[in-house]
Symmetry: C2
Subunit: 89 residues, 2 copies
């Protein structure tokens, strides 16, 4: 089972990478660019052990725990979890 | 108009960030994690100047040029462009 985790900055948190990318694009001649936001994603492949079965809800909860414990910083990040590929269909 | 650009590593290019994230998740007790790939995205807002009209195909081509010129490194990166929000619908 594959999941996509998107980590984005919370509203109001400065995004210097996005801002500077916007400036650089403008300077390169792309004057129509109004804003750029930078995001980070992880594509995670999870394979439950034998006999555990694959419960989509359960796996999603597990991935949410991964976000809380490692992938995202709750002070500045929001995250979205999305199932990309479910094996048993 | 808002577009999402996803920059990912080409097949065969080492992804130490993804590998180490996987190791860390395994060490934290998430033993079902088989692989982690790290990706980068940009959410770009483009607003064509007055009188230009909004041609989705044209904007996409412009964003592709941005990828070639600045956002992606063609030696190691692949990119995907996706229209998230079209204003004039």
């Amino acid at each position: 089972m594959e999941l996509n985790v998107t980590i984005k900055l919370k509203r109001g948190v400065a995004d210097p990478e996005g801002e500077n990318t916007k400036k650089a694009l403008n300077l390169l001649g792309f004057r129509d660019v109004r804003s750029v936001k930078s995001l980070k994603s992880f594509r995670i492949e999870v394979e439950p052990g034998e006999g555990e079965g694959e419960d989509e809800e359960k796996v999603k909860q597990e991935v949410e725990e991964m976000c809380r414990k490692l992938l995202a910083n709750p002070v500045i990040h929001d995250y979205e979890i999305e199932v990309v590929k479910s094996e048993r269909r």
